[in-house]
């Protein structure tokens, strides 16, 4: 199984736009959207969903007031300050509760139940280039890393069942556990950067995390002409750490227009500079891998 994950560190760098283009270029590939917090790939590709499965991300404690004697043991034991007294009654704060079960175990009166805290969904289906699988985290949920691990497992099974030998993964922003779950076991990681000081700072953090998983790291500079000096600094930095810059995309309003027309830039404007650069980038990765 060949895998390419697209991450950035900085939000809004262009991960989904570039992922969509890679999918337009690639054959026999499973599209995986791991940005479960703000899933966007399905908005471009409009897959026909043929499977929807629920994923329970965790539990929340709930105090049964009919059994509660207000002894306060739960509040004393909770390490997350998630139990408060409201109007004389002990109440669990959903936001702070981590669902660790401890209060339910220590309550002498069995007054605490653990209930499913979030209904998240994993969808799979078909779109114009093949199969797609993506997740949507229920607002306010945590542990997106765990859900992404589940999503990746389901994805691998879907790929196996359909004789698919390549996975292209749209990642979430940041560098936390959601990103780590996205890039675990991925041999090719593309880091999309924008030429701003924030973008460079975040790109460095993303590369640092990615290097723990693979040495095949590629950088794409998006909107490079918005600051050519910073773009040049990115290239110098990447050279210094032996990371290849495989494309420099110019700022082009067609990237947005393509999205509005539910297309990748490759389909919408195949001859523009961005499309040429993306094709070049994609070929760099597959040539490096003999996919």
């Amino acid at each position: 199984m060949k895998r390419i994950a697209i991450i950035s560190g900085k939000g809004g760098s262009g991960k989904s736009s570039i992922t969509a283009s890679f999918l337009a270029l690639s054959k026999n590939t499973l599209a995986i959207d791991c940005d479960v917090d703000a899933s966007n790939l399905y908005l471009i590709f409009n897959p026909i969903v043929d499977d929807k499965s629920i994923y329970i991300s965790g539990k929340t404690a709930k105090i049964d007031t009919s059994k509660c004697t207000s002894c306060g043991i739960c509040q004393k034991t909770c390490n997350f300050e998630a139990i408060n007294i409201i109007d004389g009654k002990y109440v669990v704060d959903d936001i702070s509760c981590e669902g660790c079960y401890l209060c339910s175990r220590v309550c002498p009166f069995g007054a605490i139940d653990m209930i499913d805290s979030g209904e998240n969904y994993i969808y799979s289906g078909k779109y114009r280039f093949g199969h797609m699988i993506y997740g949507r985290l229920s607002p306010g949920e945590d542990n997106s890393g765990k859900m992404i691990s589940e999503l990746r497992e389901k994805a691998d099974k879907l790929a196996e069942d359909n004789n698919i030998n390549c996975e292209i993964i749209d990642g979430p922003p940041g560098i936390g556990c959601a990103v780590i779950s996205t890039i675990t076991g991925v041999d090719n990681i593309v880091v999309v950067s924008e030429p701003s000081l924030s973008g460079i700072s975040d790109m460095k953090r993303a590369i640092e995390v990615a290097l723990k998983f693979t040495n095949s790291i590629y950088v794409i500079i998006n909107k490079y002409d918005l600051d050519e000096k910073n773009s040049s600094d990115i290239i110098d930095y990447c050279n210094s750490i032996n990371v290849k810059v495989i494309a420099k995309l110019e700022f082009d309003r067609n990237m947005v227009n393509a999205m509005l027309n539910k297309a990748s830039i490759i389909e919408y404007s195949p001859n523009c500079q961005c499309s040429s650069e993306i094709k070049k980038a994609y070929n760099s990765i597959i040539n490096n891998n003999c996919i």
């Binding site: 703000a38 306010g140 922003p173 953090r205």
Partner: protein
């Protein structure tokens, strides 16, 4: 007033708004605090020249399991909801898997033999800064989580705790993107949320998710459209139909992109842009009565 600047979609301009609004309010003579709660990739300090005054470590509980005292009863492993205790009684092996530990202390509570002692792990840091030349009073706080950690939530909580200065008139919380726990932790202590978005299908979809969450939390909000001319009308229609306040609309400009890229404040590079932040400030002041109730 505590104002969170948030967005479902990343890269819409939260930090752009937070840092420029912060500076605009300061120049009006307002006592304002900026807290950067985007603990995975905090960026506000790129835009504001400030001196670091203090660093506070954010510590999380971690157990130490002493296998010499351990009786291999397995109760700690039963109590652990995260499979963080590696336990093989036949081999007399027991140890913590730190990457899975959530610091809930359940194992410690479970152990009847005193085999588990308390320890701490640094999971993040909150740095306090002052941008005033002759002052030790900190007005900018940055939370930064350790990259390998499970969640930035404890660091966000800590950042807001340090940043909450009673004498300040305004607190601005620069939020992480998304609608998951880190976003919730940031907005939950705010009185009003400024949602920064872009008029694209991605922006609109993520905005709707943010609003759904804020409604559940019963938090008031208003929308700022950034790069307002790069997209379509769907967003505007949605705001009109759902009666959502459009506070301010900022068009895309290479000038703004360029200032941002260089780590400069737009209101310094282009003083005319103050008008956007004036608009936001006036809106917030108009909402003050409603918000502070």
């Amino acid at each position: 007033m505590k104002i969170a600047i948030a967005s479902g979609k990343g890269g819409t301009g939260k930090t752009f708004v937070a840092t420029n609004l912060f500076t605009y309010l300061q120049r009006l003579g307002i006592n304002v605090i900026l807290a950067d709660c985007d603990t995975e990739v905090p960026n506000s300090l790129i835009f504001i020249k400030a001196k670091e005054k203090e660093a506070h470590k954010v510590m999380d509980y971690r157990p130490i399991i002493n296998s010499d005292i351990c009786k291999f009863c397995g109760k700690c492993a039963d109590y652990c909801s995260y499979n963080a205790i590696f336990y093989v009684p036949s081999l007399k092996k027991i140890s913590l898997i730190p990457e899975l530990c959530h610091g809930c202390k359940a194992c410690s509570v479970a152990c009847e033999y005193g085999a588990i002692t308390d320890s701490e792990l640094e999971i993040g840091v909150v740095r306090s800064y002052s941008d005033k030349k002759d002052s030790t009073e900190c007005n900018i706080f940055e939370g930064r989580m350790q990259p390998r950690e499970l969640t930035g939530v404890p660091t966000i909580k800590s950042t807001i705790k340090y940043a909450t200065i009673p004498e300040a008139d305004y607190h601005l919380f620069d939020s992480p993107p998304g609608t998951a726990c880190p976003f919730i932790q940031t907005v939950t202590r705010a009185d009003f949320i400024l949602l920064v978005t872009e008029p694209t299908p991605f922006g609109l979809s993520d905005l709707k998710q943010s609003i759904e969450t804020l409604k559940k939390l019963n938090k008031p909000y208003g929308v700022i459209i950034n790069r307002a001319d790069l997209g379509n009308d769907e967003l505007l229609s949605y705001l009109k139909t759902d009666n959502i306040d459009l506070i301010c609309s900022i068009p895309f400009s290479r000038q703004i992109a360029s200032s941002y890229a260089k780590g400069k404040l737009e209101i310094d590079e282009n003083p005319e842009s103050s008008k956007y932040f004036k608009e936001i400030y006036e809106y917030l002041e108009n909402q003050r009565l409603k918000i502070e109730l």
